[in-house]
Symmetry: C2
Subunit: 204 residues, 2 copies
């Protein structure tokens, strides 16, 4: 489908915009735009306005850098949460992933990425300084490093560990082991090795 065949420049622009989204090709983009055109005008208006509002009004929490509707996010401002534990994550979906477990009642710190020399991302590109400031301010008992189990994650873990080791706090990482539902036969040897070394007493 070449650009030449579009009967309308407005339609073509909309298709081009949708096609810039990840995983959306030009054919899908066209289908999405046509579905918008078939809708109730008020629904299309709301769709466009929602995207504009998202960009214009969204905030990033001044404490943890997570996405928020307010200057301080709902987690950081929740007095019922344990303010002495900080869970360090790479990005905002990770906050949501940990929250969905309902196992963590502390606060977060979103780094905004991970140290990756290949991608030209160094420690100064991440919110590591503000993490150190939070620890330096006191009242923190534990920092949980909840980064990806990759080389970049390990590098970032090590960098943060070095930064925070002068402070009198516990620095922990997520348990590594066989994922629930995984078959042993298909588990990689490093994970399996760690799972054997970190074995736990059997619980009925």
């Amino acid at each position: 489908m070449t650009a030449k065949e579009f009967p309308s420049r407005l339609l073509e622009n909309a298709v081009n915009e949708f096609a810039t989204l990840p995983g959306i090709g030009r054919k899908s983009a066209f289908r999405l735009v046509m579905s918008l055109l078939k809708r109730d005008p008020a629904a299309v208006e709301r769709f466009g306005e929602t995207i504009l509002r998202l960009h214009r009004e969204i905030k990033y929490c001044k404490i943890c850098n997570s996405i928020s509707d307010t200057d301080i996010c709902s987690i950081c401002s929740d007095e019922k949460r344990d303010r002495s534990v900080i869970c360090v994550v790479e990005n905002i979906p990770d906050v949501m992933a940990v929250e969905s477990t309902r196992q963590f009642k502390g606060l977060y710190h979103v780094l905004g990425g991970i140290i990756s020399p290949v991608d030209g991302i160094g420690p100064s590109d991440l919110k590591i300084d503000t993490l150190e400031e939070r620890v330096r301010a006191g009242g923190i008992r534990e920092v949980i490093l909840a980064l990806s189990a990759t080389m970049e994650g390990d590098t970032t873990n090590y960098y943060i560990y070095r930064k925070l080791s002068p402070y009198n706090i516990a620095i922990t990482t997520l348990a590594r082991g066989v994922a629930i539902g995984d078959e042993l036969e298909y588990t990689d040897e490093i994970t399996l090795g760690r799972a054997i070394n970190n074995r736990n007493p059997y619980q009925q």
Copy 2:
């Protein structure tokens, strides 16, 4: 991912809007919204504005009902096209599909659907009256019925044929046959039967 876990109502609204698009689930919607947030603010602004403009400024051609930036679409206003032939199609993507063949130099008429009692769509819901008006106005030599090769398409073809038969014009339909690239073994018997009956002299 439950709604409760969203750190922001703006984010949640945007995900909900994207999830209303066909073929986009909540996980994909979330990924699309996060990709928008990672972008240059100007790009997000443009995305939202493009959707709003699409809806606010798009027009439907007063002659053929195709999408257009102007009252009369670029095809209907093109003096180089054959104004004595009208190709009747179900919807706008069909106009683009026929245009992409570069085999047709006449005008179009978009019905805006197809007769489908199951979906409660009758002849009065379609732009059949305005098609008849165009024929009645004169100057038309042929109407090509380019609808889907389905029962609904056949019904609509028959209805339009009955409507237009009083006028002194040719009424044609698309050739049916084995699609180029199709293997005979997997061609359904009705298509194959029609292809045998409508066989053409071999051309080297």
